[in-house]
């Protein structure tokens, strides 16, 4: 049975779910929720489904999951036959969890700054500076990973934490935070965009370079 995803086309959290599903080749029934500007996430019907009033929400059979980290975990656990997207060994598994936690810091800073820039939703004080500190932290991690030719956050395969971090990093130019001074971030973004089945969204282009001239 195809899961239902309640989603908004410009929402970075929803995009994470749609991107992983696309990369795994998993079908989703997408239901557009007018969270902005319609505030449909404040409607009684939506709040009955997701009391926090936030997207994304995934419904599969009787299961209801709220928030990108939980949904990414479930999609990888149920739909990834290669098991590459969610490492099973304790150390990489815990590292993946660490970067999933980091993705929520990105979302609370870079993501919030973007929502303020695009939709006038007030961001917490200092969100932009905190977002920049997050980008520096991720850049440092990827610089160190590159010393041993590591291309992804953990191990030798992209994991769901790469997806969870990718969206806010790729979209942060919407908030005026550019990628120019972060070469390792740029290479990592490029590698993700080059994955077979990659799904773009407004603000994240596909790789034109890969098409036949």
């Amino acid at each position: 049975m195809t899961p239902t995803l309640y989603t908004h086309v410009l929402d970075a959290e929803c995009y994470k779910v749609r991107l992983l599903a696309a990369l795994l080749g998993l079908p989703l029934d997408c239901v557009a929720v007018d969270s902005y500007p319609g505030e449909e996430t404040r409607s009684e019907a939506f709040l009955a489904l997701a009391p926090a009033g936030t997207l994304p929400v995934l419904e599969a059979g009787g299961l209801v999951l709220c928030g990108a980290p939980a949904i990414l975990t479930w999609l990888a656990a149920t739909g990834d036959v290669t098991e590459g997207w969610m490492p099973q060994d304790p150390a990489p598994r815990a590292q993946m969890q660490m970067w999933l936690g980091f993705s929520q810091r990105l979302s609370a800073t870079a993501g919030a700054a973007r929502l303020e820039a695009m939709f006038d939703m007030p961001a917490p004080e200092g969100a932009l500076a905190a977002a920049e500190a997050c980008l520096r932290e991720l850049e440092l991690h990827l610089a160190i990973r590159a010393v041993d030719d590591g291309a992804w956050l953990v191990g030798d395969h992209p994991c769901i934490a790469d997806i969870a971090c990718f969206a806010d990093v790729a979209l942060c130019p919407d908030a005026g935070l550019l990628h120019d001074e972060f070469p390792f971030l740029r290479h990592w973004l490029y590698r993700l965009r080059a994955l077979p089945g990659f799904l773009p969204m407004p603000g994240i282009h596909p790789l034109h370079e890969l098409r036949a001239g």
Binding site: L140, A143, D180, P183, L207, E209
Partner: protein, 202 residues
């Protein structure tokens, strides 16, 4: 006429495009499929779109906006809306001289690029941006501003600094050939230098 270090060469693989800055100029930096690097004004002569948003097709750079393509000589080579038209030779991107030396891409804001003599055995480490001016970056290294900063306390590290303004300086960092653990230590040293410089800059 000045020559500026704008990027580490290994950060610009064939087929890639990025933004760069040289002496106040906003540039598109790109490398063709065959490996030729170029630096042009970051502005499409057609509608002014930043060419750094564009994409490389073989030996040409295409603007993201209307797909106008420019060859390695900076002349417009193809206009998709007029596929049968040979574009007039006057439609050109403004190109700057570029040299690759010691693993660094150098661009002259006018005339010819004249990079400083680079050590022979250097490996690219990383490029990072300091939120301070060049003098403060050099001070954090224990040095006066210079085209190449050989760090007295970290003899394997050399920085090619690119001043972008009073509060922004790029540091293109190279090292002697090092083992992995020492490369990681060198990366942490660049972070510590940046913290020191930025704290001093307030």
């Amino acid at each position: 006429m000045t020559t500026f270090p704008v990027a580490l060469a290994h950060d610009l693989p064939p087929g890639r495009v990025q933004r760069a800055f040289a002496g106040g100029r906003d540039l598109v930096l790109w490398r063709s499929a065959s490996g030729r690097a170029m630096a042009w004004d970051n502005r499409c002569p057609h509608r002014g779109m930043r060419l750094s948003h564009g994409f490389v097709r073989g030996e040409r750079l295409a603007c993201l906006y209307h797909g106008w393509q420019y060859g390695t000589e900076a002349a417009c080579a193809h206009i998709p809306a007029h596929p049968d038209l040979a574009p007039p030779a006057t439609i050109r991107a403004a190109a700057y001289d570029l040299a690759e030396a010691g693993g660094v891409i150098w661009v002259a804001d006018e005339g010819y690029a004249d990079p400083p003599d680079m050590p022979l055995a250097v490996m690219p480490l990383r490029s990072l941006t300091f939120r301070c001016d060049l003098a403060t970056l050099a001070w954090a290294c224990g040095l006066e501003p210079a085209p190449l900063l050989f760090l007295p306390e970290h003899p394997s590290l050399v920085i090619a600094p690119n001043p972008l303004g009073p509060d922004r300086t790029e540091a293109h960092v190279l090292t002697a050939p090092l083992h992995a653990a020492d490369r990681i230590a060198a990366i942490h040293q660049t972070e510590a230098l940046r913290r020191l410089a930025e704290e001093a800059a307030g």
